[in-house]
Each structure stands twice: as C-alpha cells, then as structure tokens.
C-alpha cells in the first residue's frame, strides 16, 4: 500500500524524523514565511502536473487549495490538500531505504541533489549501501551515507539520526520503501523531510499497529478489480476498450494467456486468476462470473489446467455458477488436468464449447471473435 504524503510524514514524525509543520486543508499551520500547498495524490511528478504551489500568505494558500480540490492530478482526483510551512532550503538531497528484491536486502540509497525522479539520475550519482539482514543497520552503513552527503558537525549528527530512524521505520512498519525526496538542509542547519513516499507491505498488515487506510489502494483499483478481489480471485484490467476476458487457473498461466490473446489480435478487457477459488465451490465461482459479466465482455475464455483441484468437480461448479450468474456473450472453455474427460463431458452436455488443449481453444475463440 502506498501512503499519501501526509500519511507518510505522520509516520516519519512518529519515528523522530523532522518534517515541516503542516496540516490538511482547511486547517493551516502558523507560517509567517509563506506556505506550500500540495495535492495529496499517489502519483509521481506531482509538481510538474501542477499539484504543488507556493503561497505568500494564508489567503493565497486558501485560494490555491480551493483551486486544487477535486482536480485530477496524474489521473488521480485530489480530495485532500496538505498545507505546510515553507522551508528556507539551502540544499536538497535524495534519501531512501528501499527493498532490493534481487539482492534480498534493504538498501540505503542516497544522492546529492534531490527533488528529481531518482530514476533520472545517472547510476554513479547514487550511493547504494546494502544492509545484510543478518546484521541489520550498523554505524558503518550510516557512515557511508554521511560520507556521500559530505556533512559535518551538528548537521552530520542530525543527518545520521534521520538515516537511522528511516531504517527503523522500514523494519518496524514492514515498509518496502521509505523515500524522502527531497531531504532538505535548511539555512538554520535543520535536516527535514520535505516530501515522503512510504510503501507498506500488505502481507504484514497483521502485525502493524498503525491502522491501515485501504482507501488509497481501493481508489487505484478499477471497479472490476475491486469486485473480483472481494471473491478471492485476482483481476487485472488491461484495456478498457477490450472485448475479451480471460479467466485462468493460475497466475503464471494468466500472464501467458494474455500474451497469447494479444499476439493473436484480440483486444483484452481483463484477465482473471481464479487462484484458490477453484476449490471454493459454485457460489464463489458465481460471484466471479457476476463480476466478469458486469464488465460486459463479448467473449470469455476460460482456461483451466488443474492438478490439485479435480476438473469434473470444477465443471459442476461452472455449471452451477453459469445458472446463478450467466456470462453473457460467447464462452470458450479449455479444460485439462485431473479427471478432465468427465469434466469436459459434463460441460459439453450443457452446451458449452469445450477443448482439451490450448491451441484449439484459441482457434475457437478466434472463430467466435469473427462471429462464426
């Protein structure tokens, strides 16, 4: 789950990292030096997209906030605005603690000159300090960031504390990313997180004491994806203008099926991984069907190759689901695996177009697309 800036900053503050005084509009901090007005959307490049503004006084800040509300920034509707005291920034750095999935560790990432997208920086501008999970964060890791940051004295101490706290946050909150971009060095010697992007691991929700705000994620998911998630299946919306939905018995096969369909010229509306729902009974499958039917595909491919579940039982579930919540349009079924002969027989009896192998099923779908 990606936290919005103000949620991320609240978390940073809890771990002792300085953030600018700020509050959600219409509240405002006391800021004689001026304001920053920031749309709270989970999109990159907010500044360029017009989501961040400066205001000299509170009246100007209010006007800017009013103008931002309900606008779309980077495809997301603005329904919260953060008003912050403007900082007197002397220098901006990039600082993050990020999960490196391939090295299987957390990594400290630092660059001089923050505020830009880190992907746009040349690799040699980045200092990456991997932290071996067997030893966790040690002083020598922090020292390497501080060397790169070229800070001395009190600023060095404060900077080091930010690094330490950011790592602690990532471990304690099960975050996969805590990015401060920019980390501001202010004229009065402060080291302040001027922005914050925190991504939490949904799988660790059970041990996090921070209450989860599922709204942000739900907002990012389309209606089809949302309604499928409620069933236990996983849907991925591909092309809003597509007319084919593929319902598949596994995540890997789902990806491969999508590739096959697109390469054969189909416009795919969505793909669905049935996952564990193949064992959950006809009623659950009916809910999956209902969600797919609501998306109104002209063609549905059901591609199942199953070895843990039994194909004949699955066929009975399909029959039941089709009765409870019929898929509109043409349906082509590919069914292979344990007791698939009996399964296909049951489905043919009910008038479905059924194939054992993938190639004939794809051919059948192509025919159906051409109206044959």
């Amino acid at each position: 789950m990606d936290l919005l800036e103000h949620q991320g900053k609240a978390l940073l503050r809890r771990y002792g990292i300085p953030v600018p005084d700020g509050s959600l509009w219409p509240e405002r901090p006391n800021a004689p030096g001026g304001y920053v007005v920031k749309a709270q959307v989970a999109a990159g490049g907010r500044g360029k997209a017009g989501g961040i503004h400066f205001a000299e006084d509170s009246a100007a800040a209010d006007a800017l906030a009013r103008g931002l509300l309900d606008r779309k920034i980077g495809g997301h509707r603005v329904d919260a605005i953060l008003i912050e005291r403007r900082l007197d920034i002397r220098r901006e750095d990039y600082l993050a603690v990020a999960l490196d999935r391939d090295r299987r560790c957390l990594t400290l990432v630092h660059a001089l000159g923050g505020g830009v997208e880190v992907e746009s920086l040349p690799p040699e501008a980045l200092t990456r300090v991997p932290v071996d999970p067997l030893i966790r964060l040690r002083d020598f890791h922090i020292a390497r960031v501080l060397e790169a940051a070229k800070v001395e004295g009190e600023t060095r101490r404060a900077y080091g504390e930010v690094v330490r706290a950011l790592y602690r946050l990532v471990v304690a909150e099960d975050a996969t990313l805590a990015e401060v971009n920019p980390l501001a060095l202010t004229a009065d010697g402060g080291v302040i997180a001027a922005d914050a992007k925190v991504t939490l691991d949904d799988n660790a929700r059970f041990r996090r004491d921070t209450p989860d705000d599922g709204d942000a994620q739900a907002a990012a998911a389309s209606t089809l994806e949302q309604s499928l998630r409620a069933t236990g299946a996983v849907g991925v919306e591909v092309d809003p203008d597509g007319d084919v939905v593929a319902v598949v018995s596994g995540a890997g096969l789902m990806m491969a099926t999508l590739d096959l369909l697109v390469e054969r010229g189909h416009k795919v509306r969505a793909v669905v991984d049935l996952g564990g729902t193949v064992l959950a009974g006809g009623e659950v499958l009916a809910r999956v069907f209902a969600a797919v039917a609501a998306a109104g595909p002209r063609l549905t491919l059901l591609n199942a190759f199953m070895q843990t579940a039994l194909c004949d039982e699955f066929a009975r579930m399909l029959v039941q689901a089709q009765e409870m919540s019929p898929l509109r349009g043409r349906v082509v079924i590919r069914l292979k695996g344990r007791q698939a002969d009996e399964g296909r027989r049951l489905l043919v009896e009910r008038g479905f177009q059924v194939h054992e192998d993938l190639v004939p099923a794809l051919d059948g779908l192509a025919d159906a697309a051409r109206g044959r």
Binding site: N203, R207, G250, L253, M254, A256
Partner: protein
C-alpha cells in the same frame, strides 16, 4: 541424479496436521514419495499419512533422518518455521505459504544461505524429480522421468510446459518452482547452475516473467553453461504498474520488462521462444544433435 530432490531425499512436512499439510502428506504417501515425518508443535504424537508427527524439526531430523521440508504453515508462522527447519539442518526447504511478509522472506533467505540450506519460495509450488521424490504440490502422475530440467516461478504455468514436453516424448529430470513473491530464496541463476552440473539433465527450460532481475542474472549463467537453455518470459502485454497475480510480477525498470529479458537471454545463447506453445519444440530442436540434423537432410535428398 536430478537436483534439489532425488533418491536420497527424506521428506518432512511442517504443519502436517493442518488441512493442506494433511492433504499433501496423504498424496505423497499415495504416490510413494519418501515422506518420513511430520511436525506439528501444537499436536505432536501419533501419525499422519503413515508418518510419525513430532513437536520439533530437530527431533524429526534426529529420529527419521529427514533432509527436506515442505513448509505448509500459515503465512504469519512461515518465518519461524523456516528458521527452525534451517537450524535443524534441513537442506532443501519449500515454503508453500502465500502472503508471507517480504521482510520475513528476506530474513529466511539470508539465514538459509548462511547455513547452506536451499529455500524455494515463499509462494512456491515446490520441486519434483519424477520417480524419485515429490516436494511440491504438482501431481507426479503428470510428469515423466527424462532429460529436461524446468525452472519457473509458477507451478500452473509449468503444467502446460510439461504436457507439451510429454507430447514430444521429452520427460523431466527436475521441475523447480521458485515462487511468485518479489523476494524468494532461490533465483533462476542458482537453479541453472545446478542443472548444468546435473548428470540427469540434458536441456533446461527457463520460464520467467516481468519484474525483478532474476532472469537477467540468469542470462549471465546461461552464457557459461554447457547445456542448451530454452527460455520463455511471460507478461509481454502486462499493463504497467499492475501486479499480474504474482506479487513479484510487477513491471519495474525498463530492462526488467519482457523485451529486456528476452534480449539478455538470447544474447547469452538461450533459445528464446515468443510464446508458451513453442517451448517443447525448441527443446526438441536443442536436443537434436546438429550432425543427425545433417544426416536427416542427407536422407531426405
């Protein structure tokens, strides 16, 4: 001799008294897989699927000589279960649970590596060497012993490839499923090295997907291998920014997409096929010595 599991394998199921654990154990017994023990800290004593159930891995190892574990516990218990398995000296460990916190996956991977245990997963379907041992949720009856090694993230996609290979009379030495999570204990590269050193494997099928660098790192190994590798990468048409069923299958930086991975593997000498359906034929071609190809051409003339 196959890799990861073979004739020496003695299987332990952690969480054997749970629903999934009990089912898998029963299937292992029915298939004749070398199941020797179960562990259930809460309900030790007695037997499941003819195997004795112990309170701890170390006890199970001491009594039965178990050396491989199928970890079939809830996601929130997976870290402790895997650490216990590693500390007890188990060498091949499949973490079946889905939804394991990624920090837990990081630590169990590091600890397994530190102590010389090979961890597949989390979210792995496991590994199987047909006719020898089945430490997976794959149905052994679908596999045929033979010369092709398969390494994949996903179990379901693997079924398709196995069926195609069987159709051309090409059996499998070992099928290894790495797991669909972003952080898993074993990479494609690790398994390729094992296949290259395995006498029973003559060709390798590498099934990859978008997200992560596992297939890019694998390309460096492919370049050093003596055996032919056929590669397929799923997710060419996956929409950006969406997880494709697997938590790890999320389109990231540019070279982690399908064209980037295909190019790296092709450059390293792998035979890269554009879709799932071409894999078996490419393996058959790779296993046909060029000389007999010539011979056949001569015959045709």
């Amino acid at each position: 001799m196959a890799i990861l599991v073979d004739g020496e394998t003695r299987i332990l199921v952690q969480g054997i008294t749970g629903h999934t654990g009990a089912n898998l154990a029963a299937r292992m017994r029915d298939e004749g897989s070398p199941l020797v023990a179960g562990v259930s800290p809460g309900r030790p004593g007695g037997r499941m699927a003819d195997a004795p159930v112990f309170a701890s891995c170390s006890e199970a190892v001491a009594v039965t000589g178990a050396n491989a574990s199928f970890v079939c516990v809830p996601a929130r218990s997976a870290l402790d279960a895997v650490i216990e398995a590693v500390a007890a000296g188990l060498r091949t460990i499949v973490v079946y649970a889905e939804g394991v916190p990624v920090h837990d996956a990081v630590f169990m991977s590091a600890y397994g590596e530190a102590r010389g245990a090979r961890i597949l997963g989390p979210n792995s379907a496991g590994c199987i060497s047909p006719g020898q041992a089945n430490l997976s949720d794959l149905n052994e009856r679908l596999l045929v012993p033979g010369p092709v090694g398969i390494v994949s993230k996903s179990g379901t996609l693997t079924y398709e490839v196995i069926a195609e290979l069987n159709g051309l009379g090409l059996g499998q030495s070992t099928v290894a499923c790495l797991g669909g999570d972003p952080v898993v204990g074993t990479s494609h590269a690790d398994v390729l090295k094992m296949f290259d050193a395995d006498a029973a494997t003559e060709a390798v099928v590498l099934i990859g997907e978008i997200g992560g660098r596992s297939e890019l790192d694998a390309a460096e190994v492919v370049a050093q291998m003596r055996k032919p590798v056929v590669a397929y990468i799923a997710g060419l048409h996956a929409p950006a920014g969406k997880r494709m069923g697997h938590a790890g299958a999320l389109l990231g930086s540019a070279d982690e997409n399908v064209p980037g991975k295909r190019a790296a593997l092709a450059q390293a000498g792998a035979s890269v096929v554009p879709d799932l359906l071409g894999i078996a034929e490419a393996v058959a071609n790779a296993l046909t010595p060029p000389r007999s190809e010539e011979a056949r051409r001569t015959e045709r003339q």
